[in-house]
Structures are given as C-alpha cells and as structure tokens.
C-alpha cells in the first residue's frame, strides 16, 4: 500500500511518514500543494492524506482537480480546520474522510486502512482467501490461524493482492504500490518478494499470469 502525504509542516509530515512506514506503508511526502497535486495526479496511490492550508495551492483545489480529472483515490483530509462547514466543504470537494489536528496516529492509520479497504469494495474488516486472513483494520495477516510475519515489501505486495483477490494485478501497478517515489526499482525484486511470499503462504496461493502480472487465488469456501 502506497500513501501520498501532502503536509507542509516538515516535522508533522516526517512524523506521519515514519509512523506509516512502521506500519509497512510506502509513503511519499509532498510539502506543498503544487507538488502534492502533481504526484496525486500522476502516480498510483492507494490513499492520500491531504492538508488543506498548503503553500502555493490550497488543498481543496488540489482535491477538486484530482476528482475533475477522474482520479478516484481515497483522500483523507487532515487539517486544523475543525468547523463543520469546513468538513462539509471538504466532503463536497470529494474527500472520503476528515481528521482534525491534533490527532492520534493510531486513528489516522486505522482510518487510512479502512479507506483503502472500502475503496477495494470490502465492507467487512477481515478479508479471507483460503487459509489466509487479512484484518484490514489492524493490518495483520494470519495464515492457518497463526500470525504471519512479513517484511514491509512482502506486506505491501500481499495486502495489495489480498484486497483485490482473484483479480490479476499488473506487474507495473504492483511495483508502483510497493516502492516509494524516490526508490530505485529493480523489476526483478518483485519476483524475489513473490517467491518469499509463496514460501510463507503456499506455492499455489499466488498465481503468475504470464506477461501480465499476479493474482491471489481465492479458493471457494469449504
């Protein structure tokens, strides 16, 4: 899962990024409205955290532009403006959630996970595929009833596949959601990560679709 954080306060942006990375998210930070608008408009993100009072461009106009361009990524507005009118304006501009500063980081993480889950079309917080279970609320994976220990890269790949289980996910799409914007991407590394995942959750769980990408096999229940 890759998150875009648009926040002009460097200390806060840094803190959020650190906390989200600790939860295995890939995080890109933009410290002004222009950069944030550009990143959100061109890169693939699972969710965005958007401040409203930004230098160069106001957050609401950034959001409105994304929506006008058909960018449907879930957006959580994170702002000091706590008036209900501001919240209504935020949702009207196309926000999916609204959190007022200061906030508890657990709540931000929980809300971001919920946004990603709902955007993938899951109403319940626990997603299952065979013996694999993903609690989208806590971010924990279980395999055969036991907690699954994953590295950040493994978690990103698996959560991405899990949220869209049964669907082929393009290699490029997967790469984009696994690596942060400024990372050196070695396209072979994806095979390495998938290989390690197969060792942990069974060789047949992740299917390689030649020339396209990967798919998490969702065996029918029972």
């Amino acid at each position: 899962m890759r998150v875009l954080v648009v926040e002009d306060d460097p200390a806060l942006a840094d803190g959020i990024a650190r906390a989200l990375r600790a939860e295995h998210f890939a995080v890109d930070v933009a410290t002004n409205g222009e950069d944030g608008g550009h990143l959100g408009g061109t890169e693939a993100y699972d969710v965005a955290v958007l401040d409203l009072g930004l230098p160069r461009r106001d957050g609401l106009s950034v959001l409105a532009e994304w929506r006008a361009a058909g960018r449907m990524l879930p957006v959580l507005i994170l702002t000091a403006r706590d008036a209900w009118t501001d919240k209504v304006l935020g949702f009207k501009a196309g926000a999916d959630d609204y959190l007022v500063k200061p906030f508890r980081i657990e709540e931000l993480v929980m809300r971001l996970r919920a946004l990603v889950r709902r955007a993938a079309g899951h109403a319940a917080s626990v997603i299952r595929a065979g013996a694999l279970a993903f609690d989208a609320q806590t971010g924990q994976f279980e395999y055969e009833g036991l907690p699954l220990r994953l590295t950040a890269f493994e978690w990103r790949v698996l959560s991405c596949l899990m949220l869209r289980k049964g669907v082929v996910i393009e290699r490029l799409d997967l790469l984009e959601r696994v690596y942060e914007g400024d990372a050196d991407v070695d396209s072979n590394s994806l095979e390495v990560i998938v290989g390690r995942l197969r060792r942990k959750i069974g060789a047949t769980a992740i299917e390689t679709v030649r020339g396209r990408g990967y798919r998490l096999v969702d065996p029918p229940c029972g």
Binding site: D9, A11, L12, G15, I16, R18, A19, G53, A80, R81, D82, A83, W84, T85, K87, V88, G90, F91, K92, A95, D96, D97, Y98, V100, K101, P102, F103, R104, I105, E107, A114, R118, S125
Partner: protein
Amino acid sequence: MPRSLSGRLLVTASLALLVALAVAGFGIAHMLERFVIHGLDERLDAQIMVVSRAVRPDGTIDRGAVVDVPPFDEAASGWAWELRGAGGVLRSASLGSADIVVPDHDRHGPPHVDPFGPDTGRPRPFDGRDPNGQRVHGRVLRLPSGRGAVTIIAVGPREVVERPLRAALLPLLGSLLLLGAALAIAILVQLRFGLRPLATLRVMVDEVRDGKRRHLGATEPTELLPLVAALNTLIDANEIALAQARGHVANLAHGLKTPLAALRLDLAAPGRDPGGRLAAQVERIDRHVRHHLGRARAATPAGSPGAATPVGAHVDDLVAALGRIHADRPVRAVVAVPRDLAVRCDPQDLDEMLGNLLDNGWRWARSALRISAERAGGMVRIAIADDGPGLAADDLARVLQPGVRLDERVDGHGFGLSITRELAELYGGRLELDVGMAGGVVATIALPAS
C-alpha cells in the same frame, strides 16, 4: 438647556415665538396709535388754520374772524384752542376764562426749553392737560406777525386717541394669542414629524445590534445621511475588527494544532515519553485550544446573522459528511425536514450546532438516527433522535456543561454540546436533551424561524 433634542427645539422655538409675538403686538399697537393721532392732528391743524385767519398781517387780532363750531364751543369737552400774541389772547368758548393748556413735560421735551420750541412754520405736536385736568393732545403753530410772534394752540382730548386703541386692543390680543397657539401647534407637529427619522434611525440601530439587519438603510432626510454613512462605516469597521479578531483566534488555534499534532506524534514514538506525562500535557493544550476556538466561535455570531439559512440542505450536507466520517458505523439517517424551513442564523453557526448534535447522535445511535424539523410559532424546532441506550436524567443535564463527556473511550473533546447550547442561546434559541419514546436521546434545538 434641556438635555433632549426636542426639549431644546421646543424651548428655543417657544422663546422666539414669544419675542416675535410681543414685538408684533407692540409694533401693531404703536402703528395704530400713530394712525389715530395722525387723524387727530389733521383735525387740530385744520382748527389752527381757521384760528390763524384771526391774525391780521399787522399783528392785531380780529376777534370776530373766528366762530366756534362744536366741539370747540362745549365747556370741559377737552377740545379747545388758544391764540396768544402781542395783540392779546383769544380763546375757544370751551375754555371760558380758564388758563391755557399746560404742556405735559412728562411726555414731550425737556422742561427748561420753551415747550413749544422755536418757530418752524408748521404745527408741532405736544401732550398736556386742560384746565380740568383732562389729558389732551395738542398742536402748536408759531406765526410771525408785524408785532412779534403769534402762538396758536389747538388741543383735543387724549381720550379720542385712546378709545379706539382700547377697542382695538382686545381683538389684537385675541388674534395674537390665536396666532401663538397655531404656531405652538405647528412647532409640536414639526418636532414630532421632524424628529421622527431619529426614532426610525434608533430602531434601525437596535435591529443592527440584534442582527436583524446589517446596515442602516435610511435614505432620508438628507441632513442625517452623513450620520447614517458614518454609522455604517463604523458598523463595517466593527465587523472587520470582529472578523479579524475571530481570524486571529482561529489562526492562533489552527497554527497551534499542527505543531501539537507533530508533538503528539513525536511523543507516541516508543521510549520518548515513558510515563505519558508529556502526552497528557499536549492533550491539555489541545483541549484548551479547542475550547477557546469553540468559545470564540460561539461568542461572536458570524458575518450574516440575518441570513435565512435553509435547514434541509444543511442537514443533508452534514448527514452526507457524517456518513463518511462514521463510514464503519452503519447508522441509517432518516431526514424528515420540510424543504421550505429556514432559520435566521449564520450558515456556519447552523452547521456547527447541527454538526455537533448529529455527530453525537451518530456516536450514540445503535442503527438509526431520525432528524425532523417543524415550525412552532416564530421558532423552528429541529429534533435529532437516536435509538441508542439513552442517558440518565443526571447525565442529560451534565453533558450540556463544558468539557464533560460521558464516555472517555469515545473520541471527542466534550465541548460540542455546551458550545451548541451557547450558540443556540446567542441566537435566542434553546437546546434541550431528553430521552425519547424508544429510549434513545432526543436533542431538540430551537432557532428563530426566517
């Protein structure tokens, strides 16, 4: 000087009226007297001309030349004449052998001067008394003759002058009083009518204070327009200052929130704040910031207090927003708000009040929230009923106090309800919490209808 404007105008106008009436009264009486005396003078001068024929060019007097005609032949009538010269004295029959007329020094000329003055060739007036003591008005003429100057005097009773004056005085006074009364009424009417714009202006200022209008809308009278413009400028300046003050409070609060968020995040890192003491302080600062931001909002209604704000549209927007904020709590919101209902309240303040109440409803509800509104007299009552567990009577009163929240686990700062109540009361409305038929909490807010 009276303190009131109408008092001042009344006093000055009344004084001016009295002076004008007195001057007019005396002026008219004087004119009348002169007119009447002029008539008497002409008659006396005619008599002097008749008597003067008795003086021959050599200065002797022709005693047969003058024949007394009434009233000069009547004794003690007050009418008399006398001719005095070197050639002797000739008197009217009315005088008989009595003394000549004595000039009344009180009225004409200083006593040491010859009362009849030097010769001017024309009759001159004087006032005096006849031998019977009757006050008379007379004319005197000095004629040169061969044997020195001849003096001819003719007098008539002063009563002749004073009788018509007395007769005219009563109607004159009457008409002056009538005029005065009419003018006094005119002054009162003018005061009421003329000062009415001031009363209108005062009502407008009251309306501005009460938030029923934004500016003074007077377009007349022209004398007051500069004052109206100055007042409107003052109102604007006040509004700007208020907005700036609000803005400063908001900026301060918002400016603090981001560093607070960073601080909180920093303290949440493992090992950074083992006892949680610093985090508790951050929490305290946050509560203060929220509290005062809310208070600043509640203490000053925003820019357009007189605005008609549609309830339905705002409820819809807030319900849509809350549905997303509480996306994982499947609460069904049933909105039954007539579309034509509007309240006289700033839209942001309405959002603040309804947002807090709806947010609470969402937190307390089990599965459904019912929002209804109705017009009751001059108020609109908006009721938000949840199907949650409800509250005990003690708690219902307690949650309206600032900073009280019943469930410490639920996220929230506990100022929502008290600020909502303060805002509602600021608009002349009310907030009531009750337990509904189904057992849940019913929050009812009453706001002035538009």
